[in-house]
């Protein structure tokens, strides 16, 4: 059994990285907004779905090249994220956080149904032509599309990391997550920081949506499972921590794809949640979560 396992391990790792990269991209949005507003914007999965449809519209209907479709998806979803915040969450800024959470679920359902109304419920696909030929990479078969997926995910994460660590606006985002009231005292416009964070998180989710669509079909409910898995990833990584979200996404992607070698593939989705339960029981703050009193202070 083990020799067979090690023979397929490169392939499992590769599949895990692809799934993990996608989860990580969505998880970053969850964790950044949680860091500032202390609620989970469950709509990120649906924003990813809208991103896929936006790219579909640009590429299949308008015949734009792939890169232009991706940029269109990023732009549309960044604006959508800011608009959702303005309409749905901003009026609840001072309300109980549970209200925002429930609103986020409502936003998810709304987006799913709007897309279903406009595009229909049937499955659509980007892909044309024959099935791609995979290349052999250390015993794993990987298609050019998969290379694109992994490269894009990692580039975007590196870019975001640089942005938050080095730029003025990135520092303002971290300062606001640390202490929003104090951020105001030093002249940081917290609403602008919130808008920027929604735009960034939604842009990354859109990228994730397009990456999913490159390999799989698109449908209005396609964002649900990645959204929940990414939420799991954010919690496992330590909610509020950006590196944690990246790490958590990779962990969930890898564990899931390695796990189904041992289990019937129908259990794939269950694996992520078993990991979540395990973390909630034994390490509730996640891999890189801060001290608990941080949450108490707010």
């Amino acid at each position: 059994m083990w020799s067979e396992f090690f023979a397929v391990l490169p392939q499992l790792l590769m599949n895990g990285l692809i799934a993990g990269g996608i989860y990580s991209l969505i998880a970053i949005g969850y964790t950044m907004i949680y860091g500032i507003l202390r609620f989970i914007n469950f709509a990120y999965g649906e924003i990813a779905m809208v991103g896929a449809y936006a790219a579909y519209t640009a590429i299949v209907w308008l015949h734009w090249p792939l890169w232009a479709g991706v940029l269109a998806a990023l732009a549309v979803c960044s604006l959508l994220g800011v608009a959702i915040d303005f309409v749905a969450y901003k009026p609840l800024r001072k309300a109980n956080r549970l209200s925002s959470l429930i609103t986020a679920i409502a936003v998810s359902l709304l987006l799913q149904n709007l897309v279903a109304l406009f595009y229909g419920n049937e499955i659509k696909t980007f892909r044309e032509g024959p099935v791609e030929q995979g290349m052999n990479f250390f015993g794993a078969f990987i298609t050019p599309t998969q290379v694109t997926i992994i490269a894009t995910a990692f580039l975007l994460m590196a870019g975001l990391y640089w942005f938050v660590a080095k730029t003025k606006l990135g520092k303002a985002i971290r300062a606001t997550a640390d202490d929003m009231e104090l951020a105001k005292v030093v002249g940081i416009d917290s609403e602008k920081v919130i808008r920027t964070t929604f735009a960034l998180g939604s842009g990354l989710a859109a990228a994730a949506g397009v990456l999913i669509a490159l390999e799989q079909n698109i449908e209005p409910t396609m964002g649900v499972m990645p959204g929940i898995k990414a939420f799991t990833a954010a919690v496992v990584g330590g909610i509020g921590s950006i590196q944690g979200a990246m790490l958590g996404g990779m962990l969930i992607g890898l564990v899931e794809n390695i796990g189904i070698w041992f289990l019937p593939s129908g259990y794939k989705d269950a694996i992520a949640f078993v990991v979540l339960i395990f973390f909630l029981m034994f390490k509730p703050k996640g891999l890189l979560g801060g001290k608990l009193e941080e949450d108490v202070r707010k």
Partner: protein, 256 residues
């Protein structure tokens, strides 16, 4: 007469039925260090919260350099030139010492998402200038060697000093200090004293809440005394020390 840096006009604040402040007025002039004293619960910190926009006054208004700031949002008030510290230190714990100052330096092109992403050349030049400015401030409070440490890892005294530097990074027209030497050991308290003295020499306008009479005597040009939300006296430190109402307010508290 020269425009006052800070003009507090008839400020009252009710919390439900409780009158925290009642018709308080005073000015802080250019290059002036004004002490705000009074027994605990006399409304000093509430007044700070009104000046920097956390609370709206029930009556009255605050002006900075002749412009009304009451009703503006806290970050707008900060950008109009009002920097403040807190009685119990408040910093960004997960930011480095240097970053704590850099986030307070405002009106920068690097704040715009596109500019930040493109990292234009003039943004870079600006970033460098800001960093130099921040490092200079760190030298002033003798924390240059700690610049890359997380703020949460500093000692309490160092955090107090860093907080003053952070308030200065805003290049405020007026600096509000809420008990800058509270809870510090004498050595660090001395350092804080010297930093404020240095600021005074540079001609900064300061409004400081202070309990220690010796500090007040050494630093303040004028003193405003609050008791139960009302201004009961205003004058030079000497005058205040001899003021009967003030003595009463304090001694009354000692008797309790």
């Amino acid at each position: 007469m020269k425009e006052a840096m800070l003009n507090v006009r008839g400020i009252s604040k009710d919390f439900g039925g409780l009158k925290a402040l009642n018709n308080v007025s005073f000015e802080v002039g250019e290059r002036e260090v004004v002490g705000l004293i009074g027994p605990n619960g006399s409304g000093k910190t509430t007044l700070f919260e009104i000046i920097n926009g956390f609370y709206l006054p029930s009556h009255g208004s605050v002006e900075c350099c002749g412009q009304r700031i009451t009703g503006l949002l806290p970050h707008e008030i900060a950008r109009r030139g009002i920097g403040r510290t807190f009685q119990i230190v408040r910093l960004f714990p997960k930011l480095t010492v240097l970053e704590n100052l850099l986030v307070a330096e405002q009106h920068l092109k690097g704040e715009l998402l596109l500019h930040a992403l493109l990292k234009l050349r003039h943004v870079e030049a600006e970033d460098r200038a800001n960093k130099e400015k921040a490092l200079k401030l760190l030298e002033l409070v003798e924390l240059g060697h700690k610049k890359n440490e997380l703020a949460e890892n500093l000692s309490y005294g160092q955090q107090k000093l860093l907080e003053i530097a952070r308030a200065l990074a805003l290049e405020p027209r007026i600096l509000l200090l809420d008990e800058p030497d509270a809870g510090l050991n004498p050595t660090i308290a001395r350092k804080v004293f010297n930093v404020v003295k240095e600021l005074k020499k540079e001609g900064k306008s300061v409004l400081m809440i202070e309990h220690d009479m010796e500090t007040v005597m050494g630093l303040c040009d004028r003193v405003v005394v609050l008791d139960f939300g009302e201004k009961i006296a205003e004058g030079t430190p000497k005058e205040i020390q001899a003021n009967e109402k003030v003595l009463e307010a304090y001694l009354g508290k000692v008797k309790k």
